[in-house]
Symmetry: none
Subunit: 250 residues, 2 copies
């Protein structure tokens, strides 16, 4: 953690511009383990993360829409998912040096969670509130996409849908499980696997494949698509958070 002696100068170095309202950026860097109390409520970066997550999705959608002028919607959706996945955002946060700005309690392990990536999203929320949408889009283009992301290359990479779904579950505190439903054989007697993705115990889709792994990948792909497209389904799944995350699926 840096000592905030000259915070404007430090943030200028991180962002490439001077903050107008520096409190927004400070809040973006406040992990919930170090929440501060103000008038009885806990202040941390989670609300800004909610906002920044949506703004980043929109900005990346716009960039891809213009970059890949003839590509279909499915391609655009998949390419965006690869860019905004937690692992990548965590890496970008570290490359930017954002990790040095984050205030968190030592009890919290920085492993196995996406504290930096989440703070990066909160930072996007802070820039949006402080400077507006266009400024924020420019920041994403010039400070994130141009230096760190090869759009052509990433668009061609094969996507690990299963780990993306598990990440989504971790972020939203929803249990993700895969159940092997059945193994059948095709007309040539090759085994065919059927796996179901369960999100908070609710079926997200059934995938088929010639290996268990392939069937899980397909189930995860269907489930991720359903979360994005079907807000009723998303809502049902999110409602399972409140159960204390102890869902047992048999």
């Amino acid at each position: 953690m840096l000592r905030h002696k000259e915070p404007y100068v430090l943030y200028r170095k991180l962002l490439g511009f001077y903050p107008t309202d520096i409190h927004l950026y400070e809040q973006a860097c406040l992990h919930r383990s170090s929440s501060i109390c103000e008038q009885g409520r806990r202040i941390n970066n989670e609300r800004l993360e909610f906002l920044g997550d949506a703004i980043l999705d929109a900005i990346v959608a716009d960039i891809l829409f213009h970059k890949f002028k003839t590509s279909k919607e499915g391609f655009l959706t998949n390419t965006r998912a690869k860019i905004v996945k937690r692992e990548s955002l965590n890496e970008i946060a570290v490359k930017l040096g954002l990790d040095n700005f984050i205030t968190y309690s030592m009890r919290t392990s920085s492993h196995n969670n996406y504290m930096f990536g989440n703070a990066f999203e909160a930072l996007i929320g802070a820039i949006y509130l402080d400077k507006g949408y266009r400024y924020c889009k420019k920041f994403v283009e010039t400070r994130i996409i141009d230096p760190y992301i090869d759009l052509e290359k990433i668009s061609k990479e094969e996507f690990n849908f299963k780990s993306r779904l598990i990440e989504w579950g971790q972020k939203h505190k929803v249990d993700i499980e895969f159940a092997l439903i059945e193994t059948i054989v095709d007309q040539d007697n090759n085994p065919v696997f059927q796996s179901q993705a369960l999100l908070g115990g609710i079926s997200g889709g059934i995938g088929i494949g010639y290996s268990k792994k392939e069937s899980q990948q397909n189930a995860a792909r269907i489930a991720l698509n359903r979360i994005r497209r079907d807000k009723n389904y998303q809502q049902s799944v999110l409602a399972t958070q409140e159960n204390g995350n102890n869902t047992i699926v048999t």
Copy 2:
């Protein structure tokens, strides 16, 4: 479908402003069943829908962030999901009169899908490209949220899943029962209940909760979702009507 005699005037009436690039709006209203071919590729509203979906999510996130200044991220996520769910967007599209603008093939049934809601998202994408983010946000605020969505009310709406499931059972003459499966304790020694919803004796889902009521609500929610999503399951349940409506299978 309207005849495009005076398209600028018609769009003015729909949108409240004159389009700059009318082709964007025409494309937003082009369902994939009526795709047109241009240089070997199919043009329809699906790419705009991808963009508009993200822009709408961002705008609604911003509106909720400012409206509910002290609410947590989970509340904001759930409230947004209620606003942008497909059913609501479909309704909004019809209220706006957007359904009259959509070009689609007659073979496509307008029932059981969300053609209008999808076109509404594409329209948001078109406004964003034509007029920019701020203009688009203003459109959402003044033409969608203010007239059609009561944010306070929608944020408080909680579904009573159990009574909705019982209603469904009465309507379809299917027995609805709830069975308490087990009571366990979580890591803090709080009791956790597991209830199963039985539809015509067939398990519809297992819900977990810190009260029996909560666990039943969750089980009912899962079961309602399964009826809607899983037509095989729905058929199995409806088949129990014929068994004299008393079947209980454990």
